[in-house]
């Protein structure tokens, strides 16, 4: 059973590894890089918000912090544009974690829906600070050292680093899910007062989860900054980013391991592709919004849970030999 359950990860991973070797068109490998960046972000976001039920709509703070850390450090340390900047990617993640601590200390004082609003508010505080402070370059943003690589191979290193971040985030999310700490997060989602009564240090657990989720998102932001070469406060601290990764995780299945990966892959690729196809971004908004309404209304638990339920029902109907689902692995089964 367990081999059947995890065996399919390998071929999927192989497809991701081989993709840039087969597909040489930079248009499509760029879509690949963006899809991977968002897969890393959505997975990391889900590790806190999906497990604990605290929907964080300020995750762009981590992303932007990572991007600004990368830009400021590589400018001030005079890192040449030769790929040496990639060593600063984890630093971006660490600084994002440092920023997450005061953010969490304020936002996690309140419950659920108020938390959502506070994260939005803190997000705007940070975005406006990035616009108003002088060291961030204001609205004109910051440019990074130019990387003099050929266009044909430019995307490949970014692709593999992003893939590395995705694998890291997925493994971390999996480890958290299987740990005592992960169970505490789930207990908070199901009933925070009862969890607290049973001895879970709810505030400490929430703050740790919140801070931990900032790391991979910060790394993605740092990688994005190198990839784009020029960052602006309104694009790295983007309200659409906040909502997009939440949508991706929920589209795939909130609190599941595969859901955010699938959701980010499908939605981000689609967004990039549609933007290329129709230069009009407003048409894209309509399609995206309508699709999302359909998903939320007909598969409120996300695509992954929907398909799994269909599969379970199907296999239960066809034979009696089906094993009951392992509650520790079944992800979001409440409801």
């Amino acid at each position: 059973m367990s081999r059947l359950k995890y065996g399919w990860w390998l071929p999927v991973l192989a497809v991701f590894v081989v993709f840039p070797l087969v597909e040489k068109n930079p248009t499509y490998t760029t879509i690949g890089v963006f899809a991977l960046i968002f897969m890393g972000c959505a997975t990391s976001w889900n590790m806190f918000s999906g497990y604990s039920g605290y929907i964080n709509l300020g995750a762009a703070v981590f992303y932007g912090t990572g991007a600004y850390t990368m830009a400021l450090l590589s400018n001030h340390l005079h890192v040449p544009g030769s790929g040496d900047q990639f060593w600063l990617v984890p630093v971006g993640g660490l600084v994002a974690m440092i920023v997450a601590v005061p953010f969490g200390l304020i936002a996690l004082r309140v419950r659920r829906h108020t938390f959502v609003v506070i994260t939005i508010a803190i997000f705007f505080v940070v975005q406006l600070s990035a616009i108003n402070f002088s060291f961030t370059g204001g609205t004109s943003g910051l440019s990074l050292p130019l990387i003099p690589w050929l266009e044909t191979n430019f995307n490949t290193p970014f692709y593999y680093i992003a893939l590395g971040i995705v694998i890291f985030a997925t493994l971390l999310s999996f480890a958290v899910r299987r740990s005592r700490f992960g169970l505490q997060l789930l207990a908070i989602r199901d009933d925070e007062d009862r969890a607290s009564g049973l001895g879970v240090k709810v505030f400490a657990v929430k703050l740790t989860g919140f801070t931990l989720s900032a790391f991979a998102i910060g790394m993605c932001g740092a990688l994005y900054a190198v990839f784009i070469g020029q960052i602006y406060p309104q694009f790295v601290f983007d309200p659409l980013f906040d909502i997009s990764i939440a949508l991706m995780a929920i589209f795939g299945g909130l609190g599941t391991l595969v859901g955010p990966l699938l959701g980010a892959l499908v939605l981000e690729s689609m967004q990039q592709y549609l933007t290329l196809q129709f230069s009009s971004s407003s048409l894209y908004l309509v399609i995206f919004g309508a699709l999302f309404l359909v998903i939320v209304l007909f598969m409120p638990q996300g695509v992954v849970v929907y398909v799994r339920d269909l599969w379970t029902r199907h296999s239960l109907a066809s034979d009696d030999d089906s094993t009951p689902m392992d509650p520790a692995l079944s992800g979001s089964t409440s409801a």
Partner: protein, 294 residues
């Protein structure tokens, strides 16, 4: 910085703040009755503004007369959205799902508005928008006073409806406790639908005033919704009086900060105040601390 500038910013803040209070009241009413955070409130305001714009530019209908068309239109839009989408959300993650559904609705409306009206900023015009009157030694466009009066009239009407009618009693019962309200025979479903319609309908008036005092495009909805959310959280979610006080207070403080420290910091002050207040009083200024939030 001088006395006149400060006085000006206070008057301006109170007048504009009342319009924000009106829009926020709709939002907090929806939250209180339905436990739904309507993230689309910002785009509904812009939709209202664009409707007024279309009526005044293409049909030559006066902005205030046009409200007779735009308010019922948005009421119907609200009812349709509630019936078609929000009423289908069930389960423990209802609040979160409501944010996503209303956000998706907002994206669709934003895309459509963007296609129909393009991304160019527009402004509503009428004689009372372009002409000013001298109040307490300060020149103010008439629209500020008219908008203030309109907001007061509508808030008053809302108050009378909520506190002096039978329907209002059922709304307040649903605000206090849905299960108990249903047990005494109130049709909570119907109350919810009408409240959503009402909460959205007020954005028609708010949008008209907003459009007459600011240049806007579909993108302006983000700025609006973030302010409106801050206002209702500060006032205490579900508290109608709280939305009124917080709306006027926040806009006045924002205007004052803009006079004292410059306009770049005024937006920031908005959110900083929220963070400070919530650190001291997590339930907001007038909110009641819920004993147990599931």
């Amino acid at each position: 910085m001088n006395g006149t500038a400060v006085l000006h910013s206070i008057i301006d803040g109170v007048l504009t703040g009342s319009v924000y209070a009106l829009m926020a009241t709709g939002l907090t009413l929806i939250f209180g009755v339905m436990n739904i955070i309507n993230v689309a409130q910002g785009i509904f305001v812009i939709l209202g503004a664009y409707l007024s714009y279309a009526l005044s530019v293409h049909l030559g209908i006066d902005l205030f007369a046009g409200l007779a068309i735009t308010i019922p239109t948005l009421f119907v839009v609200g009812i349709v959205v509630e019936r078609a989408f929000l009423s289908r959300i069930k389960g423990p993650e209802r609040v979160v799902m409501s944010i996503l559904v209303t956000y998706a609705v907002a994206l669709v409306i934003e895309g459509v508005l963007d296609m129909v009206f393009t991304a160019n900023y527009v402004e509503l015009h009428a004689w009372y928008v372009d002409q000013s009157v001298r109040v307490l030694g300060i020149w103010l466009p008439y629209i500020y006073l008219l908008g203030f009066a309109l907001a007061l009239v509508l808030l008053g009407a809302l108050y009378v409806m909520l506190y002096r009618t039978r329907f209002g009693a059922s709304v307040r019962a649903s605000l206090a406790n849905q299960t108990a309200a249903a047990l005494v025979g109130i049709n909570v479903r119907r109350v919810s639908t009408i409240c959503f319609g009402l909460g959205v309908a007020v954005t028609a008036a708010g949008g008209m005033i907003y459009g007459a005092t600011n240049a806007f495009n579909a993108n302006s909805s983000y700025d609006l919704i973030s302010r409106l959310l801050v206002i209702i959280v500060l006032g205490g979610m579900g508290s109608l009086g709280g939305a009124l006080v917080a709306g006027i207070m926040m806009i006045t403080i924002e205007d004052l900060v803009s006079v004292v420290w410059g306009s770049t910091w005024s937006n920031l002050s908005f959110f900083v105040i929220l963070v400070i207040v919530l650190s001291l009083r997590p339930q907001g200024l007038f909110g009641q601390r819920s004993v147990r939030v599931a």
